[in-house]
Symmetry: C2
Subunit: 249 residues, 2 copies
């Protein structure tokens, strides 16, 4: 049993404003909550059905409330509610702790929550540990982003900082995708490259473009005069990350 | 001016049932409608604001109604309505007309409309012309799919047919992604390969797996013991399509 006020409080965490006020975000579903419990993130509370709790015993240190499927549905941000939902403290990673010896994925205005989540998931798959978001990116604590990461939000350090300021101080290669760049399959990558991915509609911003040291391009190979004008941002990011892993020096 | 009944009729095309009954689907936004007007698809009617029509003169052969932004909003399937919306006849491509000399992207149970749209957009970028969907794929006429293709729905022949029956008759290589396949960067592709992409949760179905002649895999290169368990289906499809283009014999 859970109060109406509590349900409404959790439901509100779908909105950025309430996440900022409370410092909490929502994680839903067995896969994401299981990954969460194995991570360093601070779990505030877990809400689950008796059925779920019987199958997934929680550590005693975790605050937990048994709720009905109907109650979970009313808290949920998803169209298909799950059997478990957790509220989690938003982690704040200090950009000064970025490891300059390792690669960074830098996102310049990624607005679509699904794209951000898919980029984090793909970065995790390809062994990246650090994603830097410009302040105009969608927050990674957006429920649709968390959902799209399929648990990878737990394993990625996601920083938010002014991108030009961050890049100005760096002494490594900064690669960005442009229509007129070098074909990516001939690029040699360095371990500590910064790989910049631009906004869905406008690409990389002028201020960031000025700091890019190497312009790269994903060739289309299309033979028709008319074809897709561009790739989805998460698709472009994935091809870049894959090529980085293949062609790192 | 447009009747309430007409608005409601168009709005209903967001649902599969009404698209099947009417044989129509919806296309929204300047980019998609512009691509549509350059394509072979049969436009039923265009609804646009006076502002849009002044900037985009239509051929006389196109039936067109001027509507207010409010009316468009009531017809729209999008959260951010556009200035133009078209209703279009659903094309039916006969699987017997598939060109066996050219590559095919075969989708085995892709359920997410955004994934299907992104795969069609990426296929168009990389010069593919033919996508074959199993009957349990989301329909490509779903408004979210059309939106995600960014106009590429106009340039792709999207077939729907029983996948095992289709594959059984083929005399070419059938490649599918599996966790235990050959690393994709060592695979040599043939022009008329069939590239199979599996369902978001369950991968390639048993019946299709039995017909795959070459099991391929996208390595993760991750060094940590825990990392993402899988890639998003549209990401996996994109890496496969990109490698096909790079490594075609």
């Amino acid at each position: 049993m859970i109060s109406k006020a509590k349900i409404s409080e959790i439901k509100k965490l779908a909105q950025k404003k309430f996440r900022e006020e409370s410092g909490l975000f929502i994680v839903e579903g067995t896969k994401s909550v299981t990954d969460l419990l194995l991570s360093q993130l601070v779990v505030e509370e877990v809400f689950a059905t008796s059925h779920w709790l019987a199958a997934h015993p929680l550590p005693q240190s975790i605050r937990c409330a048994e709720v009905s499927p109907g109650e979970l549905e009313r808290m949920s941000c998803l169209t298909t509610p799950q059997e478990v939902l957790a509220t989690v403290r938003i982690p704040h990673f200090d950009p000064n702790t970025i490891d300059d010896r390792d690669a960074v994925i830098a996102l310049d205005g990624i607005r679509d929550p699904g794209n951000l989540g898919t980029i984090i998931r793909t970065a995790d798959w390809f062994g990246f540990k650090q994603v830097v978001c410009s302040p105009d990116c969608v927050e990674f604590t957006n429920p649709k982003t968390i959902q799209a990461t399929m648990g990878s939000f737990c394993r990625m350090r996601v920083f938010s900082t002014d991108l030009p300021d961050f890049l100005k101080e760096k002494n490594c290669s900064i690669l960005g995708t442009f229509m007129n760049g070098e074909p990516i399959e001939t690029v040699k990558f360095n371990r500590n490259d910064i790989l910049v991915i631009g906004n869905e509609s406008n690409g990389i911003s002028r201020a960031v473009e000025a700091l890019v040291s190497r312009r790269i391009h994903i060739p289309s190979f299309a033979t028709s005069p008319t074809h897709a004008e561009s790739l989805n941002a998460s698709i472009a990011a994935s091809v870049v990350m894959y090529q980085y892993r293949l062609r790192i020096q």
